[in-house]
Amino acid sequence: MIWLTWRQHRQQALAGAIGLGLLALVLFVTHVGMAGTFNSTGLASCLSNPGRDCGALAETFDQHYRGLQFLAALFLVIPLLVGLFWGAPFVARELEQGTYRLVWTQSVTRRRWFSTKFAAVAGAALLGATAYAALVTWWTQMFVRIHASRFNPGFFDIRGMVPVAYILFALALGVLIGTLVRRTLPAMGLTLAAFVGVRVLVNIFARPHYMAAKITSFPVVPKGGGILVGGPDLANGWILNQVTVDRFGHLAYSGGGISFSPMLTSHCSGLIPPPPALPTPAQLSQCISHLGLRTVTTYQPAGRFWAFQGIESTIYVALAAALFLTAGWFVRRRIA
């Protein structure tokens, strides 16, 4: 069985290895340039001092390397490729070309045929996925530091251990759909749709609720430019919702802080000069404390990053296991 698995999948394995090698090459080369800029511009040392405003430096860096952002999209797509090219043809091609009648009538039971092949392919996928996830996690570090947003889906979904879980899920999904649809091409199409569907649904509906969100409330303080901000620095945390309320709990602004507006003038008549005159910072502070404006933030703290990674990975690995078992059952009992 091992021999047959290797003979049937060696091309896919080779393609995967070459793809991974090319990716590693691109990442290493670009990383050298990025790290140079990161250190030489002083961005690195700026970011290591908490509280310093590195906005301008970060923006320059961001703009300089914007071209590389397409890679982030590629990182999101890679698990899908495994599902499409390794998963979908796994059983479907045997059914499509009729070779299941050959291979399932040798002395090897279907159970062994399926589990050996799947174990080998999933093992290879696991190995490749781990290397790939480690590479991407390492490569994106600078961006994560600049944006202080490990929870941003653009980063969360391509770093840590979730990419590995996505790959296993995509593989098992492709295998099951191929088993049910029995033809490779339609199976690939359906795998694509199902994978994207599940990922979007989990991201939107499940992930925010893995752990009970924390709520924090801070007084609004004025900041330059007529924008008033509130709340502490929730760097790297995942802000789910932020609203500004007055001392009675009424919604004053659906967002963090409050933007200076005629509304504020009408509520603070006497404290703020009528438009078009602009209030001084002192006048604004008076108005804010008069209204008792507070920003209420619902968020997942930065420290939960790995817990969230663990929960999400568990979900996808469990899904992959369920899909694998279902596909195995269909292969043993229902097909042909």
Partner: protein, 303 residues
């Protein structure tokens, strides 16, 4: 030794259509059995049931004494060549043999290599580029290399030209006589089977219509010709079919008695005559049991 194939009330339904219905038959050990019938009669279904690729809807099938679906170990003792001889087209011939060697504990590599060489097949050629005859030989080699007790072949002749057909059957006979295996091969080409088969199963519209040893079947069937008569009745014989011209009547009959009426001239039948006569009369059947009794008679008879 277990009966190679034995079915009782075996039925298989796809949706609303019965591919095989209430099929009871057995193939005795050591026979080369032909499974014939028109397309769609259920030949492939029967073979797939025998090798566990399908699950019966009702009834039971035992292959070498085991249920192939419940006890997949029996697969090691069955050689199977599916219709259109599926091979991995990207595999070289030697890799197809490697497949056989790795997937079968009883594999005989010497035998397999020898067979392939004897048919002048290049071991390094890809299976996808082989001719129809070569494909069939490689597939047969895979099945025989297992050293099976039972060989099942689904329409192995369909894609072969007459010469390749003859050669294939010849090599099949040779392999069967060398290792005393039971062979069941399906075909809709009756003439080819006559030379090699000693047992016959005729399937027609999902049912077994004829079952028995070829010699015995040929001995118990006659074509009678004589002057035109309206009486489709010959004492001691069952009339399967009759045709009449203005001056002559021709009857296809089954039985064993002497023909007393001098008006009739009896002719021996060929296997093809026999198969065609039965296929033309879907209600007639020749099954083991008291001679002259049709299926309906037996079903109505008290137990």
């Amino acid at each position: 030794m277990n009966t190679p194939i034995e079915t009782t009330g075996l039925s298989k339904r796809y949706g609303r259509n019965w591919a095989l219905r209430d099929c009871s038959l057995s193939v005795p050990a050591g026979k080369i059995a032909a499974l014939v019938g028109p397309n769609g009669a259920g030949k492939t279904t029967l073979l797939h049931l025998a090798v566990g690729l399908l699950d019966p809807t009702a009834g039971e099938i035992r292959t070498l004494g085991e249920s192939p679906r419940e006890n997949a170990q029996v697969l090691a003792r069955i050689g199977f060549v599916a219709q259109d001889v599926p091979l991995y087209s990207g595999f070289k011939v030697k890799e197809m043999l490697e497949l056989g060697r790795h997937l079968n504990p009883t594999w005989d590599q010497e035998l397999a290599l020898d067979r392939v060489r004897r048919h002048d097949i290049d071991l390094d050629q890809r299976a996808g580029t082989l001719s129809g005859g070569q494909r069939a030989q490689v597939a047969l080699t895979l099945a025989i290399g297992k050293r099976p007790e039972l060989l099942l072949l689904d329409e192995p002749l369909a894609s072969l030209d007459p010469l390749a057909r003859r050669e294939f059957l010849g090599s099949l006979m040779e392999a069967a006589s060398e290792s005393e295996i039971t062979v069941l091969l399906s075909s809709h080409l009756v003439t080819d089977m006559e030379r090699v088969c000693d047992y016959l199963i005729v399937l027609s519209s999902a049912r077994v219509q004829v079952l028995g040893g070829v010699e015995e079947l040929l001995a118990t069937h006659r074509v009678l010709t004589g002057p035109r008569t309206d009486r489709d009745h010959v004492p001691g014989w069952e009339v399967i079919s009759s045709s009449h011209t203005e001056r002559q009547s021709t009857l296809f009959v089954r039985g064993a008695a002497h023909i007393l009426d001098p008006a009739w001239t009896a002719h021996e039948v060929t296997l093809e005559d026999l198969v065609l006569a039965y296929l033309a009369q879907p209600t007639a059947s020749a099954l083991p049991g008291p001679l002259g009794s049709t299926r309906r008679d037996r079903m109505e008879a008290p137990a």
